[in-house]
Subunit: 329 residues, 2 copies
């Protein structure tokens, strides 16, 4: 087995040992999540447990596919490429239902906060009309996002019953006991094999961060509603996750990428929520008061997007990035 | 005349000299502005000159009433109280027309900026519907604010033709040559009469600033749309102006209060613009796309309110306030 391939010329464990241990533990987490996940759970406690299981299933799937991407050459590459593509499909399918539920919760929270102030709707005169607007906007969003969530739930059930899913589960079950490794690369020392590959992932991340357009900031935002650049940020989020998992493989501290990743999750969530609000506003025959509340909500979420970008830059760019930094101690 | 009332016991000029010089120069500016102001000017150059004249007329009226308030006991108080009330009436009447024009310009700029991004209206799919919304929102605001401006213009013309205005103009003409002073207080030294009175104005300002609720900040605004606290900020703006004019009387540097005052002007303008957008959204029978654009605009202007509050706190609270601070030289 892989962990036995020790390289006699080095003191530490070889690349295959380290990567194999990580992949096996993630595969085990994937299988445990799969067993505990019951997407038809209706009651409170079961539903909560199933939701936790789904989260850890998605997390394990992302970690396996992320580390197979970074450390591809240490594994049997064609096997890794195939499994990776299937895990990306699976985790994105599983993520949809959760994403719609979370988006609805975020938008309802925002509406609640916004209409908590009697001044929002009608700074002068009766506030009635637009509190009604907020309530109607909430009902409209709930209808649209619940429908989307129900569709995503059906898609999840269909995916879990598919032969495609069973093939993925089988592949992960194999991975839990034996990781297909490249015979030569796996025997190399960690410092010469895994560390440079992790550095490549980090360089990609740094390049993507450098390519981000300057954020508009809070004081003089030139165009906080412009979603043109969202894609560049979403790509940074993806690369940061890959970088974080590479650090996990190497047993390094991930506090900072995890915190910065949280900011980028908020960024993605707010951008999607703003888009959902704009989409809802295009529903035919809605009342002007509803549309007004959706406009306020859209702008609010775009400002959350800006705030998340500022948070990320604060968390990520304040100190020099990278696991190669010298740690005093 | 007042400037002759020197106090033989001090080296410097007496309180009456200093206050009298300031009030006479402001009264002269008032009269010059009045001569050059022609509210019926239609052509470009004349209209621009008249607008400048109106601004300096308003500025002089505010400076006279502000310093009469701060240094009331140095003047004939009953005369000062009467003139002050009339100047407040006049400057607020004159300010309305300008305010509606500026509010419309601010809202049109914001709409232009917001719809400059094709993503604002419809992040997915055709952007057509809500660019139309922005255009309609602009047309609606233009109609409403132009009407308000026209009414304010009529009110200005009516005020300028009134006997009430002529009485104010006569009083200011008297002030330009001779300031009615309190015989005793005016003979006191500046440091014992004017400086303590200016300090009272500054203490009032400091108390009002301390009483401001904590600002929500840019990252986690709990309720940026809440206009409940606007009044407290508008009061700080008024007190800051009074403080600034007191410093002007004493010949002190006003760079900092002027800059902080600019932030509070932006605060007031953005709050009024947000209110105008909310009011427009309550127009019966508007299209949902129009209401949506007005909602975005409202939220945008409330965020400008927040940004102006942050600017003020940055400008005003960063260093200890007050003209008593020791200046390194």
């Amino acid at each position: 087995m892989a962990q036995q391939n020790r390289n006699p010329s080095t003191w530490g464990p070889c690349a295959g040992d380290v990567l194999g241990t990580y992949l096996r533990s993630q595969a085990t987490a994937f299988l445990r999540g799969m067993r505990q996940y019951s997407p038809s759970a209706a009651s409170g406690a079961d539903a909560a447990e199933s939701s936790d299981a789904a989260r850890s299933l998605r997390g394990a799937a992302r970690r396996i596919s992320g580390s197979l991407a970074t450390f591809r050459v240490v594994t049997e590459s064609s096997w890794a490429d195939g499994l990776r593509a299937e895990l990306v499909w699976l985790s994105s399918t599983l993520a949809d239902e959760h994403a719609y539920a979370a988006r609805l919760a975020r938008l309802m929270d925002a509406l609640h906060r916004l209409s908590g102030s009697p001044e929002l709707p009608a700074p002068r005169g009766s506030a009635g009309a637009l509190t009604v607007g907020s309530a109607r906007a909430g009902a409209l969003l709930e209808r649209q996002l619940t429908l989307a969530r129900t569709r995503a739930h059906s898609a999840t059930l269909q995916a879990l019953g598919s032969s495609r899913f069973h093939a993925v589960a089988d592949a992960v079950a194999v991975l839990a006991s034996e990781v297909p490794l490249d015979a030569v690369a796996a025997r190399g020392p960690v410092a010469e094999v895994l560390v440079p590959l992790a550095a490549v992932a980090e360089t990609r991340l740094s390049a993507a961060v450098s390519a981000l357009p300057p954020i508009s900031g809070c004081e003089a935002a030139p165009s906080p509603y412009n979603a043109d650049h969202d894609g560049l940020w979403h790509e940074v989020r993806r690369l940061l996750r890959v970088h974080r998992y590479a650090r996990e493989v190497l047993g390094e501290d991930v506090t900072r990428p995890a915190a910065a990743g949280e900011a980028l999750n908020r960024h993605r969530d707010a951008a999607e929520a703003a888009a959902a609000s704009a989409t809802a506003a295009r529903t035919p025959r809605i009342a002007p008061a509803t549309a007004y509340a959706l406009g306020v909500l859209h702008a609010d979420q775009r400002h959350e997007v800006e705030a998340a970008r500022a948070d990320f830059q604060h968390l990520w760019l304040r100190e020099p990035a990278g696991h190669t930094a010298v740690t005093a101690g």
